[in-house]
């Protein structure tokens, strides 16, 4: 099809070009930034949907930049997983952008408006690019774009704690970046190419050779550590709670909802697109190692979250636990498990996006951050709190919300392995789910069933409509995609099948 032939580059360029236009137009009038970003993200979202349609009908799309054929030219490869990520990224960013109009006007200084939207678009461009690129070095470059803009966005409030959080994030992020760069260098030395498809072909000859396989293992180790830091997989998560809780809430929603998932995407690309499934599952059982790390992440993240008093920190630790669920699914390397992990990327993005936007709305309206002070909010902000409750139930995995479906697939995947470790993993999933219930139910109980200290606290004072709409859309999505899980699964299932094709 001619009309859709340039779509792969379009979804990357839309946010990036918007990032360059925003300061120009913002220089004339600051108020134009928000509509511009919203329109651009809507277009990117629609383009992603069109792209999904052509991938579903015509299979994987390979786009050659400037018409130069790979491995010499830069190749964009849009597979099921890439377009799936594009849809999630553009959708969550769109929601955050709609939410930002009123939120940013109050929470950020006026002079920060233009940089805020510019950085948001740069970050989105980086994430979109990372999802569709077929080139390892390109992946690195896009990762740098999204990381650096996210460091700046964490610190954008200018508060001291935020700058400290950003600094911590930057240090660990820089380590991760250099690790992945070393990994890329090693692979280039071994094969002389950086195109992912080409790499996987040329690596075939390297697997058997005794001497150089140490280089290969080292490269794999560098990639894993680097991208596990980016994905905030326990115990490499230490930057996340600070960064995600100190950022403005709309940014937290994007960071926790999708940015760490791009780390998971990179892990998937390295494990299944560059290396062969046989190599990472059997020769070097890296998948089983990251599964165990993920299991530890589920338990540890949940336990940390239980002990938090600050609502945004609690949500951030919950992200540590849930990135564990995602990586566990990927590491299981079974049909159901990987499908569950990929599906959970979508379900968690919606639920956690919704929760952070709700937390932002609470702070916007009342300034409350402490969980114990939330009493009476159920009457004060009924719609926001209803959305918060639905998203929380989705996080716990209570039917009929979307979280239940991913729990179902992850559980099946764990049992499918048929080994004793599978029983440990299903135990972890179930215990993790129960622990998640502990801290979310604490918040829900405080919201609805606790006597507020002051009577005037319970006066109806709902979130402004512009902020409420994205919250309600995301909460609605948690229920709709729980009742109709076929929709995300139509991409998640072939994606998992494509990755595991070798097994």
């Amino acid at each position: 099809m001619v009309g859709t032939s340039h779509l792969p580059i379009l979804v990357v360029l839309l946010p990036l070009v918007t990032a360059y236009i925003t300061p120009l137009l913002g220089w004339i009038d600051k108020r134009i930034c928000n509509p511009l970003v919203v329109v651009s993200m809507t277009l990117a979202f629609l383009a992603s949907l069109l792209l999904a349609r052509s991938v579903l009908t015509g299979g994987v799309i390979s786009y050659h930049m400037g018409g130069f054929a790979p491995p010499f030219g830069i190749e964009l490869v849009v597979d099921y997983f890439g377009v799936y990520m594009c849809i999630i990224i553009s959708f969550i960013t769109l929601m955050a952008a709609i939410y930002s109009r009123e939120y940013v006007a109050k929470e950020l200084h006026e002079s920060k408006t233009v940089p805020y939207y510019t950085l948001l678009m740069l970050m989105t461009g980086g994430m979109m690019g990372a999802s569709v690129t077929g080139d390892l070095f390109n992946l690195f470059v896009f990762f740098e774009i999204l990381s650096i803009s996210s460091y700046a966005l964490v610190a954008i409030t200018g508060k001291k704690v935020a700058i400290m959080a950003s600094y911590k994030y930057l240090l660990l992020g820089a380590i991760a970046t250099s690790f992945t760069l070393v990994g890329i260098a090693y692979l280039y030395i071994l094969t002389g190419t950086l195109n992912m498809a080409d790499l996987s072909v040329r690596l075939q000859s390297v697997y058997g050779v005794g001497g150089s396989s140490w280089t290969l293992i080292a490269a794999l180790a560098f990639f894993m550590v680097g991208y596990c830091i980016k994905a905030a997989l326990f115990p490499l998560h230490t930057w996340l709670p600070d960064a995600h809780s100190m950022a403005p809430s709309s940014i937290s929603a994007v960071l926790s909802g999708i940015l760490i998932k791009v780390g998971a995407l990179a892990i998937i690309r390295v494990l299944f697109n560059i290396f062969q499934p046989e190599f990472v599952v059997e020769t070097i059982p890296i998948t089983s190692m990251i599964s165990w790390m993920a299991a530890a992440a589920i338990i540890a993240g949940s336990l940390f979250a239980i002990s938090q008093t600050d609502i945004k920190r609690m949500l951030a630790y919950s992200s540590v636990a849930h990135i564990g669920f995602i990586i566990l699914g990927i590491g299981l390397a079974t049909g159901y498990g990987t499908t569950g992990g990929i599906l959970h990327i979508f379900n968690h993005a919606m639920a956690k996006g919704c929760l952070f936007l709700c937390a932002g709305a609470i702070i916007y309206k009342t300034g409350i951050r402490n969980i114990d002070d939330l009493a009476g909010l159920g009457n004060k902000m009924p719609f926001t709190m209803a959305a918060f409750t639905i998203a929380s139930l989705s996080m716990i995995g209570i039917p009929p919300t979307a979280g239940f479906v991913s729990k179902f697939y992850l559980g099946l995947g764990a049992l499918e392995t048929g080994t004793w470790s599978g029983w440990v993993f299903i135990g972890t999933i179930l215990v993790g789910s129960l622990l998640t219930a502990v801290f979310y139910m604490k918040v829900i109980n405080n919201i609805y069933f606790k006597e507020p200290l002051l009577r005037e606290d319970v006066q109806r004072d709902e979130t402004p409509l512009g902020m409420l709409i994205p919250i309600l859309i995301l909460a609605g999505g948690c229920v709709i995609f729980g009742l109709f899980p076929r929709i995300p699964l139509s991409l998640a299932e072939p994606a998992a099948k494509l990755f595991l094709g070798g097994i």
């Binding site: 099946l412 499918e416 299903i426 789910s433 129960l434």
Partner: protein, 497 residues
């Protein structure tokens, strides 16, 4: 024959939609809200009644949402004889509860929320009954946990919150264990259909016991069986009385229903017989009967006593089902029916005492029979049925279970006979003194016989109680007929006879 019809979905959705409407209506008019709630329960009841002719003709009703599917399991509903029978009774009990709540809830707070969650619970329970496969059943089973949680903690006192916490987290934990069992079954046989009287053909070895254990844990929790009953004596009494009645009479029955579906539709009678687990399950039921009765005797709070009594009655239902004989199952079903009516009536009476006289303690009930004659008459009839006095319906259920035990073999029958005599005796120990005390002890302690003016509950509370009492007598007298017309075909369908 399978007939496609959306009637089950209407029965499920009408309380859900009405609940949301009534929540909004309650902000304008309280009466309108109560009427909507009652109307929704009546609509559900009528819709279920409308399904009777189809089912009696030997057909099943199905409705499948093929767009809404997890893996190969669609969101599907199927109504056979057993779900229909239970749905009928439950939705009728719900109407009575809703009528009863109208006056009872007057003085309590957050009434809109109470009615909303009552309707949502009805919707979820109906969904559980009409589920076509185990996953759909589990989905509604979990929803019931959350909606009934809000009923348990209605008072929002520290004790209520503590009881609710115990209920919710134990429920979540056992639910997750059950979920694990469902996954195991699905992975082994690739189906979770509940209409085949056993889907585990070709599965051998210890995995079967793991499946049975994990699946039953969730059901036994919701049913309040010993040793998973720990939440029940604290959660049921703390809720407002109409909610206690619903929790003890209906939500507990949901657990019994799920348990019977697991035994008879996932495993099937033949497989269970080859697994030799029947005696262990019977033992568990016996323990629950004995333990519940023993604990009930020790209570002074009327509602806590009734809650412990539920633990023992659920033991009967479980025991009857675990006998794996047609008459045993028949006894279990009659007992479900009996306990649903009698325990609702008893909790309504307990609520009436709190409402009118502020009495929760058994020791304060001396002479109350003269002041509240209707309430205490209903209480007496329901209590006698609980003890198993003929011709009340409680006797019929125990009779069938005894016959079922005889069918199962001599050792079982002797063991069960002992349990039955002992527990009936214990039931008598905790119910009879209350009745004697209420009717035959003077209210005044210094020997004067003051005239007590009857001052009973308002009509809208008295009518549901009286209907239940009449039901207990009528169905007791007619038990032979009803069991032939209703229960026997249901049992035959369940056992594949």
């Amino acid at each position: 024959m399978i007939i496609v019809s959306c009637l089950p979905v209407i029965a499920l959705l009408s309380p859900l939609i009405a609940g949301i409407i009534s929540y909004q209506a309650g902000k304008i008019s309280e009466t309108a809200r109560d009427l909507i709630t009652i109307a929704a329960a009546i609509v559900s009841f009528i819709v279920i009644v409308a399904m009777i002719p189809t089912i009696l003709n030997g057909n099943t009703i199905e409705y499948i949402f093929s767009y809404s599917a997890v893996s190969t399991l669609p969101m599907a509903f199927r109504v056979g004889p057993f779900p229909l029978f239970l749905g009928l009774v439950i939705s009728f009990a719900w109407i009575l509860s809703a009528v009863y709540s109208h006056r009872y809830m007057e003085h309590l707070h957050s009434r809109n929320r109470f009615y909303l969650f009552m309707s949502l619970t009805l919707s979820a329970v109906i969904g559980t009954l009409f589920a076509k496969n185990m996953l759909v059943l589990f989905i509604f089973f979990e929803i019931t946990l959350f909606t009934s949680y809000v009923l348990v903690i209605h008072e929002e006192t520290p004790e209520a919150m503590a009881a609710g916490k115990k209920y919710l987290f134990l429920g979540l934990a056992t639910g997750l264990v059950m979920f694990c069992g469902i996954l195991l079954v699905y992975l082994q046989v690739g189906t979770l259909d509940l209409g085949k009287r056993g889907i585990l053909d070709g599965v051998h070895g210890n995995i079967l016991y793991v499946m049975l254990f994990t699946l039953l844990v969730g059901a036994l929790f919701k049913a309040g069986m010993f040793p998973l009953h720990v939440w029940l004596p604290s959660a049921h009494p703390i809720a407002p009385s109409p909610a206690s009645a619903i929790l003890s009479a209906v939500v507990v029955k949901e657990g019994c229903y799920v348990m019977i579906r697991i035994l008879y539709d996932i495993f099937g009678v033949n497989l269970l017989k080859t697994m030799f687990v029947s005696n262990w399950l019977i033992l568990l039921g016996g323990l629950s009967i004995f333990f519940g009765s023993a604990m009930a005797i020790r209570q002074h709070d009327l509602k806590t006593m009734l809650a412990y009594s539920t633990v023992s009655k659920v033991g009967y239902i479980f025991l009857g089902a675990a006998l794996l004989t047609p008459t045993g199952l028949q006894g279990a079903m009659v007992h479900i029916f009996h306990h649903l009516m009698a325990k609702s009536a008893l909790f309504f009476c307990a609520g009436a005492l709190i409402y009118k006289a502020g009495i929760r303690d058994i020791d304060q009930m001396a002479g109350i029979g003269k002041k509240m004659p209707i309430t205490m008459m209903v209480f007496t009839i329901a209590a006698l049925s609980m003890i198993g006095v003929p011709p009340l319906v409680g006797f019929a259920s125990k009779w069938y279970i005894v016959v079922g035990a005889l069918e199962a073999g001599r050792p079982t029958a002797i063991g069960f006979g002992l349990v039955l005599i002992l527990s009936s005796l214990m039931n008598a120990i905790y119910f009879i003194p209350i009745i004697i005390n209420a009717f035959f002890t003077g209210a005044s302690e210094n020997g004067e016989h003051k005239e007590v003016i009857p001052d009973d509950v308002p009509l809208s509370m008295a009518v549901p109680m009286v209907i239940l009492a009449i039901g207990i007598i009528v169905f007791g007298v007619l038990s032979a007929t009803t069991s032939v017309v209703v229960i026997k075909p249901t049992v035959n369908a369940m056992m594949g006879l």
